[in-house]
Symmetry: C2
């Protein structure tokens, strides 16, 4: 057992911030949380303590939706109309991941970038390439990240270079799953790109496979109005988009649906009933003009909401930036609606970008006994004096709004210290 | 004379990007631009050349609206309702600038941060404190920044600690102006905080003073609906907010009006007719729920639009981030309007955040002969390969979306090299 000490700022419920000044996180020898405490008591005084001093100890981030092969094009093509962006630019870049050397280089950098930003858990799209997907999983695992990664399935409406036949898609999915057994921290997730990309036959096969093997599913839903119209055209027997997943056994507990921007009462009810996880992607939704999702309303109505960077629709990998963009987006929604004046607080955004995603992996809320530690230690000595003592809440707000990579001094993922820029020595405090 | 060499990306007109691969900027001995050229010709071959290699040479940024004394609270208080944010939080922090030592510390860091982000020209609010305002001007000048700084006038509706009597305000304004003669690069600008903060008597006096001494004016206008209602209540004889400035000779060429979020045809006409400079502050307008300004429409209708970080309503000092937030804001507007689907392109945002502001200082558009050089050299070797050659336009878009301070390798302001992290030696190329 050991302990880490610092200013611990956690969230145990949506909107509730728990601030423990100079508190202790007690960990067992595998890095699981034993308890969070104000003071060491009795035998705890003989534990080795890593004292992070005046630094902040926060939850690490969970990025619940992003496209790994779009990492090279982050920040580019933002002036293009959506369909051009997707069909020429995005698909063109994704197609390059047939090249495994290229995939290795890109994914190594992506993994380093993610963990450097304090993102320790991910739910991620790869491309349709089996080898490149394994490489992605390897690089994430090496970097200390925990997550679900999906080889993408798409057997219609792609481009020449970025489409499989139905047979290929099935065969490669099975081959890919076979090769995933070797990973410890990265698990496979079934990933039909979205309804327009998959024939009924493929969807049905994937849904059955997921059911048989107990695999989770991720996809996209209700991102923009044109897409919604297209789905209605393609699947005329389904009144709503979600039913195109439900009819293939895909609308079930822990299915991650990215976006859900344009959504009505009945769809909200369907999300809740099935315990679907919404991955809300505020930056992407603005950048590619999809719309402004009613994120606070979804949470208030009991939908499980998490956040995604959604690169490369999103332009930032930092989940702190994603959180503040989510807050901005909720403020825009609040201004639009007029009657519903409530927007996301910083504490609420923090919950969505951390704990709400960690729950996907079976973790409890807050720093919960029995959970492996997922945390970052934040060095914020670059703050400007207010001419008076700054409260921990103010420091917390500031680091969420202003986080730079260099502020993230230490990263714990699944109980392991995977980044350490400050090398604080563990010391026993009792004499 | 000398030259600098690199990939020169400038903008000569709203929306037009001029990309010169491995081009030369020829400068005279005072750092004024002589010409921009693809190749050195004749005697130019004997000029010393600073070769920045494959790096990008961009316009430096102009931040046309920010509150220097709010710098310590950037990223804090974002959950507060607007009036609480302003009346308790903001005014409380501003009041601390009665302390000159505190002002020195904060303003030194602000100046370093601004120039580090490549912002070489500013139009800025100080607080009402005369000494602190001089300190701000000193620190900006020392850091190599060019700009207009205003001691704020406010003789009503402030808080105890942050209000002057009318007499004090006049006396201190004169004393402050007297002390401004010693500055070379930083000039004073008349700064009534906004109509609600200034009595008619003070406004009249300030307007006359500006007229007599040929001083520019900056203030706020049409930021949010509550403020607009308040102004109507306070000045019942004025039908529109702008008229409360016009009646005191303040509605004139080069007056900077921050925000202009809620604006109709007649107000747009008034802005154009007087050649008012709108300082659009997208991040601030979202953060404090002011509204979404019709920025592209203002430009299209011929209004002079520039950008401001507006810290601490804005949470970011980086004008590259302000530009991308402006683009996001324009996309939100485009989505809201439905019929007007056009949003700002990256090139258009770049124009607004650079050249449009530089024009305030008498500069031409683009890298214009006779102008002092205001430029940044951007090191973007951190880009991820696309698996093919990346175009200069793609690299440009990416650095605008992804600019980190460490990417800004060299900063030229008013012809002087004020930051240089790479120390490229000047060499004569001819043999």
């Amino acid at each position: 057992m050991k302990a880490i000490k610092g200013n611990i700022i956690s969230t145990c419920r949506f909107g509730e911030l728990s601030i423990l000044e100079q508190g202790f996180l007690i960990l067992d020898d595998r890095g699981r949380i034993v308890s969070v405490t104000e003071q060491l008591k009795g035998e705890q005084n003989y534990l080795p303590v890593a004292d992070y001093g005046d630094r902040l100890i926060l939850h690490s981030f969970a990025d619940m939706h992003l496209h790994a092969p779009q990492y090279p094009m982050v920040g580019m093509g933002m002036d293009l109309p959506l369909l051009d962006w997707l069909n020429t630019y995005t698909f063109e870049v994704e197609a390059r991941f047939a090249d495994t050397e290229y995939a290795r280089e890109v994914y190594r950098r992506l993994a380093a970038d993610l963990i450097g930003w304090g993102t320790t858990r991910v739910v991620m799209f790869s491309s349709l390439h089996t080898e490149a997907t394994w490489i992605l999983m390897e690089e994430l695992e090496k970097a200390g990240i925990v997550g679900y990664v999906g080889k993408v399935n798409m057997d219609r409406n792609g481009k020449d270079k970025l489409q499989e036949t139905t047979e290929e898609s099935k065969r490669e999915t099975l081959r890919w799953l076979e090769g995933c057994r070797r990973f410890r921290y990265i698990r496979p997730i079934i990933t039909p790109r979205f309804t327009p990309s998959c024939t009924d036959e493929l969807m049905d096969w994937l849904g059955t496979l997921a059911q048989q093997r107990g695999l989770y599913i991720q996809s996209h839903m209700n991102e923009n109005l044109e897409e919604i119209r297209l789905v209605k055209e393609l699947v005329p027997d389904c009144d709503r988009y979600w039913q195109t997943y439900a009819k293939h056994q895909m609308w079930k507990d822990h299915t991650v649906m990215a976006h859900c921007v344009h959504i009505d009462e009945s769809e909200i009810a369907a999300l809740k009933e099935a315990n679907i996880v919404v991955a809300h992607c505020a930056d992407s939704n603005i950048n590619i003009c999809s719309g402004i999702a009613p994120v606070r309303r979804l949470v208030k109505e009991g939908v499980w909401v998490t956040l995604g960077s959604d690169i490369a629709g999103g332009a930032q990998l930092s989940m702190a930036e994603v959180i503040t963009m989510t807050i901005r987006s909720s403020k825009i929604k609040a201004m639009q609606e007029g009657e519903e004046k409530e927007f996301l607080s910083v504490a609420e955004g923090y919950y969505l970008g951390t704990v709400s995603g960690h729950r996907y992996f079976g973790a409890g809320e807050g720093f919960c006994s029995g959970d492996f530690l997922h945390a970052i230690v934040v060095e914020d000595s670059d703050r400007i004096s207010l001419g008076r003592e700054m409260s921990l809440k103010e420091r917390f707000e500031r680091v969420i709004y202003r986080m730079k990579k260099e502020n993230i001094a230490v990263v714990y993922s699944e109980g392991r210290k995977v980044i350490d820029k400050i090398q604080v020595q563990e010391r026993i405090r009792a004499e």
